[in-house]
Structure formats: C-alpha cells, structure tokens
Amino acid sequence: MKARDPVKVSSKSSPVMGKGVSSRGIWSGTLSFSLVAIPVHLVKAVEPGRVSFRMLHRKDYSPLKTRMFCPEEETIVPPDEIVRGYEIAHDSYILITDEELESVTPERSRTIEIIEFIDAKEIDPIYYDHPYYLVPSKGGEKAYCLLAEAMRQTHRAGLAKFVLSEREHLVVVKSTEGALAVITLHYGEEILPKESISAKEEVEDEEKNHIKKKIRKMMTDFDPEKYADERRKKILTILKSKVKEQAPVEAPEIEEEGRTGPADLVATLRESMRKVKKKR
C-alpha cells in the first residue's frame, strides 16, 4: 500500500490542560517545602494497557485516534478552536478561560507547596486516586534528590494542595526508588460509607484460625511482574497461532509527531517469556 500525501497529526494537548503544558510533561511549576523551592515537571506515572491492541480503520489499516468532533459541522476541531463552557441551561453555556480558572486559587496553580509531612503508613489506601511522577527542571536536581532521600530515610510523605486544570487536588508527594511521585487523594467527602455489619455476628475462632492457616500456606512477596508476564504469555500463545493463519497488514505511512507505539513488542514478549521459563 502506497502512502498518499502525508498527514500531519496535531498534538494531543487541549486548552483544558491550561497554560504551562510543557513538551516534557503535563504541568510545570515549583515544588516547595518551607524555604526550599524546586523547579519541577509533572509527568505520567501510569499508562493503561501498554501491551495492548490498537484500533485500526478496516479500510486502510491506518491507526485511529480520538479527536474532538463538531457534530453540527461534521468536522474535526483543532485544539485552538476549542473553548471551555459551563452549561447554565440546555445548550446555553458561559465560557471560562484558563486565566479565569487560574485566578480561583492563584497561589496554588503554579506551586505544589508541601504544608506538612505525614507517616506514609498512616494513609488509608482508599484515599489514593491517580499517580504521577515529578522530574526536576534545570537547577532543581540537587534539592530534588535531597528531598527524595530525606523522605526515603524517614518513611515520610509530604501533603500539598495544588490545582491541575479544573480541579484542586489534595496530593501526597512520596519518594519511590529515588524519584518523587505525586499521588492525588480523594477528599473525605468523596468516599462513600461502607455498609455496616451488625455487631451481633461473632466470629468463631475455629473458622478464623482455619482461614489463617490457609493464608499462611499461600504467603509470598508481591511481584507485580509475574502477573503481567502471565497475561503476556496468554496473548502471545494466541498471537502465535494467528501469525500462522494470516499475514500482518500494513498501515499507510503517516507523518506523525511523537509516535509512541511499542517499538518491538514481539521482542519484549519473547524476553518476558524467557524470564518466565528461567524462574521455573
């Protein structure tokens, strides 16, 4: 299949992300605690379905992407033609600009200010929402390393509030393998009450001890790699049989910026297969 005119694909950033979206990350600003201020970028820490399937156009096998679409004009709308609206009545909106949003809490839109530290163990995991990493910008490397190291040694995490696009988040700043992670937390009011259990129900020791015995037999160390490998193995088995039945199809050549496709997935899969075998 021969490519026609190469198509430029616009970058994914939308006005909703606000200003200060740098090429390196989702957000840039300052991380501070007491009188120390560290210039940082916020970047992704998770990417759902990295080993996964891609949506393709059945006609030409070109990859599909999600874009904003105007149903009235039936056109794809580029980021600079998108505005943010709040619906006050059916199909009637008032517009809110990025500058207005930042004015709601100007002290927290460019700064993650750690107001206090807590023992990381005290955080009930139900509060954790979405994780990111912080990376130091130029000049901030040393203070960044110092904060990560001091938090690692003390098992502490920093608490801060900061505004990312339309929301103010309560976040923890944690040290993880020499890096700083930022995890947004749910507010207490967002956590739904659990059903209560009648206190009358007494747990029988015999039953509890029986369960404990079973648990002890099944104790191990947490190894997230293992589960990813198992899933890859299943996918690989099916794909191997598929490859025998059908030749791969080819997508047209597309000029695209910042391609993030899996470079050599089969090699990755093979590598993980090898690891699985070795462990046995």
Binding site: G29, P48, S62, I96, S103, E116, F117, P224
Partner: protein, 256 residues
C-alpha cells in the same frame, strides 16, 4: 440509604468460599465543564478518527490490531481472547497473600467496598483474619467481559477490593533518566530534621475541597455578567543549587 450492588461474586481460595456484593466506594463531586467549538459554541464530542484520511470512522469500520512491528498489524477479534483466556465464572480467585505494605500505591487503581451476601460468618472471619495478619490477597476476576487483577484488603470489619495495575502499565522510574546528585551528609541530616519538625498525624477529613466553592462563585459571577478579576499565578523563585544548605538552615531556624 439503600445501596445497590454493582456486581455479585464469590471470593475463593483453598476450600474457603465467601459470597460477596461489590459496591462503589468513591463518588466524585465536581463541577462539570464541556468542550465547545469556539465559533458557534456547539458542544463537541469525542470521535475515533482515521489518522491517514483525517475522517471520522464509524464503529462498524473499526478493527483491532496487534502491532507486531512498526506499522504492521495482526488483525484480531477481541472476543477470541476473552473466550480462550478468561472465563467469567463470578469467582474472585485469590492466588496468594502478601504483606499489605508491599503494594506500592502506584499500582492501585479503582476501589470497591465488598459487602457480605448470605454467608456472613465466613465473611467476618476472613475480614478479621486479614486484619490481624495485616495481609492482602492478590486475586483475579472477570467482570463485564474484562479481566482484572486486584488486592483484597480488610478495612475495619469489612472487606475491600482494589484493582491493581499490571506491571507494564506503571512507567519505570529508570525511564525518567534522573541524574544522581552527590549529597553532603550535613544537607541530608538537616533535611531529615526539617521533615521531622513538620510532621503531623494524617487527618484527611480536615481537608475540604474549598476550591469547588470558589469555582462555583466565579461561575455565578459570570452568569450575572460581573467582570472577573484576573490574578496572576503566584510563582516561587527556585532555590539556587548553591543556596540549598542555606535555605535548609534558614527553614529550621524559622520553625524553631
């Protein structure tokens, strides 16, 4: 308030079998915005678009492909994978148990409350056992045609189920290309002292989402045609690398 179960299933390991109901644990309350077309304020919607033709593609023209090398795909039917790989039998199967503290929060996804169904005794015994041993069960289950990995925890007398991300969905720290900086012992020590001084108990209920109220205020003002004062975001001057020790010492003095 009566709550509706999202899903029903059985926790299973060894000969232990506990029927449970799954309930939502989180409800986000947030002011909703919509994306509009600048010209005519028509509300936009998300659409799958062919990168090559730059045209919207209806569902019946969409296929799934597995990329074997750049730009080359094996066309697959996702239902094939579901049938052969995962069975939907309503079982939350626990494969092993781990110490709760071993799970890095980076792996935690959505969370659900689990309520007892029928076998209340077994449910309570399991919750108590998990709590007393401070362990979590690593489990898998299929729900609505999708397969999930999760961690089963105790929370008080109740059970809770956290979805876990697969290892290849968490971006490794190594890929951040962080450079290691030499730190003087004195700097680290002052940093630790400072953190110790600023440490308090974690009391999440004391934090209110006051931003929502202020945002609502701003919207109300705009509805009434009032002008919004634009405030420049506060920017903090980064600490110069040579001034780090000074800033740490000054911070300690300020608190003392």
């Amino acid at each position: 308030m009566e709550k509706r179960a999202i899903w029903k299933g059985y926790i299973n390991f060894g000969n232990v079998n506990v029927p449970v109901n799954l309930y939502a644990a989180i409800k986000e309350r947030r002011i909703q915005f919509h994306l509009l077309h600048k010209r005519d304020h028509v509300r936009l919607r998300q659409q799958m678009v062919c990168v090559f033709e730059k045209k919207p593609v209806p569902r019946e023209e969409q296929s799934k492909g597995f990329e074997v090398e750049e730009g080359k795909y094996i066309i697959v039917d996702p239902s094939e994978f579901e049938q052969s790989a995962f069975k939907d039998n309503r079982v939350i199967e626990i494969h092993e148990f781990i110490k709760t503290e071993q799970v890095d929060p980076l792996f935690l996804g959505r969370v659900f409350h689990l309520g007892p169904d029928v076998n209340l005794k077994g449910y309570s015994a399991l919750a108590l056992a998990l709590k007393e041993m401070d362990v979590a069960g690593i489990c898998t289950w299929s729900m609505r045609k999708r397969h999930y990995l999760g961690a089963l925890h105790a929370s008080g007398k109740m059970l809770r189920l956290h979805m876990l991300r697969y290892a290849d969905e968490v971006i490794p720290v190594k890929s951040l290309d962080l450079s290691e900086m030499p730190l003087a012992e004195k700097e680290v020590k002052i940093g630790i002292d400072l953190i110790n001084q600023l440490t308090v108990p974690f009391e999440p209920q004391t934090f209110e989402n006051d931003h929502q109220k202020r945002l609502q205020n701003l919207i109300d003002k705009k509805v009434h045609g009032e002008k919004i004062a634009i405030l420049r975001p506060k920017r903090v001057k980064p600490t110069a690398p040579g001034k780090l020790l000074w800033a740490l010492e000054a911070s300690l003095k300020k608190i003392a």
